[in-house]
């Protein structure tokens, strides 16, 4: 488009089409936010207990783990990949941290440290498969999903972890003597900033806010964030502009695995036991949240703000449906259908490229 064609721009002769275009743009920008507001209005209309501070904090507490995991996934989508192993990594952290404390009587901080180390190893394996061996990201991280999922079971030889469980490594089947320490449980059950008549804000929510604000600034307002987006936009052009593309892709997979680990630790602390495969649902929910977030404010790319809203959307929907006594086995059907509708909307209404 040269300067003189721009100057000769004249108003389009079809106001009807203009209006439709404007409506589509509006839906693209604010559709997600509207949907959340609509859900809130709807659920509070049908159930009085929905719009209470207590329930809202419950929703946020449930959302926070998903949001943390989904933000990690978002970073890998930003560099043009995906990390299918986040759910398994979340589960690994649950089992590893609880087993370390219960079976091996590790201190809470050591359990956390070792879990993060294990998460980092998962991230490095993903990066190695994708960057060095050049396996397509989805396939590479799917194979990691398998392995990590299996390792998670192997830690306890297939048992769940709870206080007083039989020690799977003891030939005489002795009971374990370790416990999940209160400092650890605080991560999932603690409250912060409470006053006399206010219970306070749940620690997971605070953690989510820190991660969300941190990564929002990191991706949107730092050099490294910009370069992560550049890598996702055109890796070869970015490399030829003098950027160490592989280092950024590695960083993305590392971030993804570490945030999945953090999510797992909070999950374990919230439940207080180590459930088998507790992390599994987080993969699909995180993918959903990330792609819900694609369209928020017309971003048309993975972004932290959108992902958090996407996670809130999923959380509100599930909480509301549960309070309406929707059977648990139907929830996935609803989630999937809503994801279809949302993706359909954002891809079908995609602004015309000029």
């Amino acid at each position: 488009m040269s300067a003189d064609t721009l100057q000769r721009a004249v108003p389009s002769p079809r106001p009807g089409r203009e209006l439709r275009r404007a409506f589509a743009d509006f839906l693209l920008r604010y559709g997600m936010i509207l949907a959340i507001v609509a859900l809130l209005v709807f659920f509070s209309a049908v159930n009085r207990n929905f719009m209470t501070l207590g329930n809202m904090l419950d929703v946020l507490r449930a959302v926070s783990i998903l949001a943390i995991v989904a933000i990690g996934l978002t970073v890998t989508v930003v560099v043009g990949g995906i990390d299918a192993s986040v759910g398994a990594t979340t589960g690994l952290a649950v089992m590893l941290a609880t087993a370390l404390m219960v079976i091996w009587r590790a201190q809470w901080w050591l359990a956390i440290l070792i879990s993060f180390a294990a998460g980092a190893v998962v991230g490095l394996i993903n990066a190695f498969l994708v960057i060095r061996l050049r396996i397509p990201d989805l396939l590479a991280t799917l194979s990691t999903l398998y392995v990590v999922s299996g390792v998670q079971l192997t830690i306890t030889r297939g048992d769940a972890v709870y206080r007083g469980m039989t020690n799977p490594y003891s030939p005489e089947r002795a009971l374990t003597t370790g416990e999940i320490q209160p400092e650890f449980l605080w991560l999932g059950q603690g409250m912060l900033f409470g006053t006399g008549d206010f219970r306070g804000i749940p620690v997971p929510v605070v953690l989510m806010l820190i991660v969300a604000v941190g990564f929002y600034l990191f991706l949107g307002h730092t050099r490294h964030g910009r370069l992560l987006y550049a890598v996702g936009g055109n890796p070869e052009a970015t490399r030829l502009a003098g950027v160490n593309v592989d280092a950024y892709r590695l960083t993305a997979y590392l971030i993804s695995a570490l945030l999945a680990t953090l999510g797992g630790l909070v999950l374990a602390a919230r439940i207080g036991t180590g459930g088998i495969r507790a992390g599994d649902p987080y993969l699909l929910d995180a993918v959903a949240a990330t792609y819900f977030g694609f369209a928020v404010l017309g971003a048309r790319k993975a972004n932290v703000f959108g992902t958090v809203l996407g996670a809130i959307f999923v959380g509100v929907m599930l909480n509301g449906l549960t309070m309406m006594n929707m059977p648990w086995y139907l929830q996935d059907v609803v989630k999937g259908a809503v994801l279809m509708a949302s993706l359909g909307l954002s891809f079908y209404l995609k602004p015309k490229s000029t």
């Binding site: 064609t5 970015t238 490399r239």
Partner: protein, 503 residues
């Protein structure tokens, strides 16, 4: 195919969101004629061929075939009318994983009448016949993705011929062809024209247009700006394209003494593409590299930029050994590359001008880890002014810019650096005359600050710009010549292997 066949666009107009792309253009091509369509980027050439190929649902004016109005609103309409297009990006019309035979007969596969089972013998026979017609000799069972660009073009022409095309439209077919391949293509097109096919030929290269075409139509800003016989003086055609009298295309060569040696290559080698290349490049001079497509120019520049690893030899920067593991090492050392394929290797096509120009030196806009958009904008505005971007809007997505302006973005991004050597690879490919002139000016500006290495298969361009020229053939430098003392023909002879030395 009757000899009186004629395809005529009458008063065709097309606008996009209020922007006029075609404004009452009339155009006709007769059977047996080669009609060239030229014009700067954004002049409306591709919009016109899209109208003729049924790409648009709606447009103003109408199209006539043999004097009768014909409705062209779907690609299938055009094919039924016997109009076939070979687009510049041939891959968009091919299925890379299917065989050559299946691609030639692709619409046959889609027909219900062809039955449930694929008749391989029929496919092979039919496709071979069509390919013989265009001189394409490849195994019909080969996957299309293994073909060269030239072969893919011929395949598309074979497909058109098999469908009994009466009119064939080619968009910039020689943009990435070697000289020999281009000559083969021209022979084929002349041959098809003699057989009664009407050909519309779109190109930036006036030389080949004059060689090939019978008639030339010039488009400018959506209107017909002139119609010429092919033997009209080039200056007249250029004048019609630009809308102004032609000043000299190439900038004045400044007289200057050569500066100090900046970059020295000793025996560079890359398995299969570069063999034993040595040269020096001085500050304040332009070192040209020319040769046919595939001679190893791009591969050599990639070695100098660390984009591919060396298999042998050594590079010295300011007399010190330089080890490049990846492009970021080169950028840190002050070696910058303007790559050959700007859309694939140069640009973040979905991002804005600002994001593209600040990409290599983002740390200059970073304070305490914080990226300052204001600082970025200032720099982007300065750079867009420096390179003469039109329109000068830093927040415009680069995909909305013309090819020439996109190239200015890729060149402009390095202005903020501290250059020691700047490498240009086919920097004027697919950009219009006016933008070319701007690019040449920028190349000259760079040569004031750094050693410039300018690689292009356009021999005239390299001869006009460079102070010294390396001629490459089959990965080797076969000669270093002084462009002021050697003729274009001599360089061409070296590049094609007709001669092995100037002597």
């Amino acid at each position: 195919m009757t000899a009186s066949s004629v395809l005529r666009a009458v008063d065709v107009s097309k606008r996009f969101d209020g922007v006029v792309a075609l404004d009452g253009v009339s155009f006709e091509v007769h059977a047996g004629q080669i009609h060239a369509l030229v014009g700067a980027n954004g002049a409306g050439k591709s919009t016109l061929i899209k109208v003729l190929s049924g790409y648009y649902d709606s447009y103003g004016g109408h199209v006539e075939l043999d004097g009768k109005p014909v409705s062209l609103h779907r690609p299938s309409d055009a094919i039924r009318a016997g109009i076939e297009v070979v687009h510049q990006e041939v891959d968009t019309a091919l299925v890379p994983t299917l065989s050559v035979a299946e691609n030639v007969l692709i619409e046959h596969l889609a027909e219900r009448a062809s039955g449930l089972w694929i008749d391989w013998q029929h496919l092979r026979r039919e496709s071979s016949r069509a390919m013989r017609r265009v001189g394409l000799e490849v195994n019909p069972a080969r996957a299309v993705e293994t073909l060269s660009l030239h072969e893919k073009q011929l395949l598309l022409i074979a497909r058109a011929v098999r469908r009994k095309a009466r009119f064939l439209i080619l968009d910039e077919p020689t943009a990435s062809l070697s000289l020999r391949e281009a000559q083969l293509l021209f022979e084929l097109l002349r041959d098809l024209a003699r057989a009664g096919v009407g050909i519309v030929y779109i190109s930036h290269r006036l030389g080949e247009v004059r060689e090939l075409a019978d008639v030339v139509t010039v488009l400018r800003a959506g209107r017909v700006a002139g119609r010429f016989q092919a033997d009209a003086p080039t200056e007249q055609i250029i004048e019609a394209m630009l809308g102004t009298a032609t000043s000299d295309l190439y900038p004045e060569r400044p007289t200057r003494g050569p500066g100090e040696v900046v970059l020295e290559a000793r025996g560079l080698r890359r398995q299969g593409s570069v063999e034993d290349v040595s040269f020096i490049a001085r500050r304040g001079e332009i070192l040209g590299i020319t040769g046919l497509v595939g001679a190893g120019k791009t591969e050599l520049l990639r070695l100098l930029f660390g984009a591919d690893p060396l298999d042998g030899g050594a590079l010295y920067l300011n007399g010190r050994l330089l080890r490049l593991r990846q492009p970021s090492d080169a950028v840190k050392a002050g070696i910058y590359l303007v790559p050959e394929e700007r859309r694939r290797h140069g640009l973040l096509i979905e991002s804005t001008v600002r994001e593209n120009t600040t990409l290599p030196f983002l740390d200059k806009h970073t304070r305490w880890g914080w990226l300052s958009r204001r600082s970025e904008l200032q720099s982007a505005e300065r750079l867009t002014r420096l390179v003469g971007l039109t329109p000068p809007l830093p927040e415009l997505p680069v995909k909305n810019l013309s090819g020439g302006n996109q190239q200015k973005v890729v060149i402009g991004r390095w202005f903020d650096g501290e250059p020691k050597a700047v490498l240009f690879d086919e920097a004027t490919q697919g950009i219009d005359v006016r933008a070319k002139r701007d690019v040449f000016d920028l190349v000259h500006q760079w040569s004031q600050r750094a050693a410039v290495i300018y690689a292009s298969s356009d021999i005239d361009e390299v001869m006009a710009l460079a102070d010294r020229v390396l001629v490459m053939r089959d990965g080797r430098v076969v000669a270093e010549v002084n462009p002021r003392q050697v003729s274009r023909e001599a360089v061409l002879a070296l590049a094609t292997g007709v001669k092995d030395s100037i002597a």
